[in-house]
């Protein structure tokens, strides 16, 4: 049984809130969500995309650490696997609760539709979870096993395919111009790396603090550099998307982009996605500084990327479809997440945090927390 540490109260409360949300969703079904027939996908889908993409990004950075052989990154190899697995499980939990009939997922196997992006998502992310488990296992019992190289190589291809397909789920819907096109599969790959790096930086920093020491400066700096590079490209990609969206020929694309930059989503877009999630971390990371600065930037990036996912999912659905020429009932469809959705999202954050923390104490991730379990673990945690 994992040992309780004082700081765990916060993620623990989040998990309890998430459980309350899950019970409410089980009782009231769709009525517990803010989604409607016009906006069928809400914050739980955005939350799932957030976790699945961040898990993939963390895995990709772990693979980069593995193949690049950079000493500064060597210590994140094992934590990246366990963190990716924790976030993926949290994401699966969210989507499992969002689905109306998760038990019918058995038909993904018995009645597969290979044309469906969601089918491929189920397939690729199940493989990702399996590969992660294999990699986690080998990392503990036989890190030098020669088969591990093969597994890792397959996993890299799988990760890229999985996250690009996650984008393609949206990009292939021709009737939603804001999502449609080649842009999003690439954008989600880029921002997966961004959020994966941020999640790793946050985890490494918290792990060190848990043991009452400073995080390894070189590791934090390396993760900070990855985040900085990804932030610069993300900022350019965002600017391009907004420019093309506002000047493009498709009125529905223009309206959706306008909804984001100057409409109902504008406050969230500018304040949380651009300000908190992009510009402030850019400014923080552009200056030299210690691990704490990278940690702060990482937390901001994570919050920003969550709202980036939410804005993206929303902007694609808010503009009413033209079914009958000349008929438009509302200017924009509205959607507000309910407490159930917030509780579930918070619960997933808490669950991912606790899962990683427990795996740190249960297994040897090379972060030192395993040793701390028996010795300083409890007291060190009190200092966090």
């Amino acid at each position: 049984m994992p040992k309780f540490e004082r700081w765990m109260a916060l993620p623990g409360v989040l998990v309890l809130a998430g459980l309350a949300g899950a019970v409410n969703k089980l009782i009231y079904g769709e009525h517990a969500l803010g989604t409607t027939a016009a906006v069928p996908w809400g914050s739980l889908i955005a939350g799932y995309v957030f976790f699945a993409a961040a898990a993939t990004g963390a895995g990709l950075i772990g693979a980069f650490a593995h193949y690049s052989g950079r000493p500064a990154l060597a210590s994140i190899e094992k934590p990246s696997l366990f963190l990716a697995l924790s976030m993926l499980l949290a994401g699966f939990g969210l989507i499992g609760i969002e689905l109306g009939n998760p038990l019918n997922m058995i038909y993904i196997v018995f009645s597969p539709n290979l044309q469906s992006g969601i089918w491929w998502m189920g397939f690729l992310y199940s493989i990702y979870m399996g590969l992660l488990m294999v990699e986690c296992y080998f990392s503990q019992v036989d890190p030098a096993n020669k088969n591990l190289k093969f597994v890792s190589a397959v996993a890299v291809v799988n990760k890229i395919a999985a996250v690009c397909n996650l984008g393609a789920i949206f990009a292939l819907i021709a009737t939603r111009p804001f999502w449609h096109g080649f842009y999003f599969p690439l954008y989600i790959l880029l921002t997966a790396v961004l959020s994966g790096a941020a999640a790793l930086a946050a985890a490494m920093w918290l792990s060190a603090r848990r043991q009452g020491r400073e995080a390894d400066g070189e590791v934090m700096a390396a993760l900070g550099r990855i985040m900085l590079a990804a932030l610069v490209v993300t900022a350019l990609a965002n600017a391009g998307k907004v420019f093309l969206g506002l000047t493009g020929g498709d009125p529905a694309l223009r309206e959706a982009t306008a909804a984001m930059v100057s409409g109902p989503l504008a406050l969230r877009f500018w304040a949380l996605e651009v300000g908190l999630g992009l510009l402030v971390p850019l400014a923080l990371l552009a200056k030299a500084g210690g691990g704490q600065r990278v940690f702060r930037a990482a937390v901001m990036v994570l919050i920003g990327v969550f709202f980036m996912r939410l804005d993206f999912v929303m902007a694609g659905q808010m503009v009413p479809q033209v079914v009958v020429e000349g008929v438009q009932h509302v200017l924009m469809h509205g959607y507000t997440p309910t407490w159930t959705e917030w509780a579930l999202t918070g619960g997933a954050v808490g669950a991912a945090t606790l899962l990683f923390a427990f795996s740190e104490t249960r297994f040897d991730l090379g972060t030192g927390a395993t040793a701390a379990r028996g010795k300083a673990g409890g007291t060190a945690a009190a200092r966090v």
Binding site: E30, G100, N104, Y107, I173, A174, T175, Q321
Partner: protein
């Protein structure tokens, strides 16, 4: 094999919504769930304006995006043209709801999308869907396009017809008589 389709002469519609109610009775739907709806729009230029009504329902598309995206083939297209939902296979992902360009899918209380079923089961017995039979003005004609003697086939030849949002490539099986055609 039959090739079911529907023709709607919207210019004859009075807006009484009996079709919507008949359908709700047929499938025992709660008041806020409906498989067909009436859209009202303004047409013409002042001072010569009038209101036009366009009944909308599942188009039973020949190229249905809802079925293409469904991961478990819960939404499927039958050989006779009907697009149906197998509730037992549906995972409730709502991908089909997002992908339908006609906004006709609604979630039921069991987390499964619902929409017009073209009254499968009834039509095979030779009955007409209630939205058709209840209409006092014969706005809707339902039938088999493969049967040249069906009322539908004959009516389709009488006047020019069009489909809603045909540019989306969905190949709808619900046709509309062109106004003034």
């Amino acid at each position: 094999m039959a090739h079911y389709a529907m023709l709607i002469d919207a210019a004859r519609c009075t807006g009484c919504a009996a079709c919507r109610l008949a359908c709700q009775m047929q499938w025992q739907l709660p008041p806020d769930v409906f498989f067909n709806r009436l859209e009202f729009r303004e047409a013409g230029k002042y001072p010569d304006v009038k209101q036009e009504i366009v009944p909308v329902q599942c188009m039973h598309c020949d190229n249905p995006p809802c079925a293409t995206v469904c991961p478990t083939k819960a939404t499927y297209k039958r050989a006779d043209g009907l697009v149906l939902i197998d509730h037992d296979k549906c995972i409730g992902c709502k991908y089909c709801v997002v992908a339908c360009p006609y906004d006709v899918r609604q979630m039921n209380d069991r987390g499964i999308p619902e929409k017009c079923r073209f009254c499968a089961g009834f039509i095979e017995k030779g009955e007409q869907p209630p939205c058709v039979s209840t209409c006092m003005n014969n706005v809707r004609v339902f039938g088999d396009l493969d049967d040249p003697n069906s009322e539908l086939s004959k009516k389709m030849k009488e006047k020019p017809v069009y489909q809603l949002a045909a540019e989306k490539g969905t190949k709808p099986r619900v046709f509309y008589v062109k106004r003034g055609g």
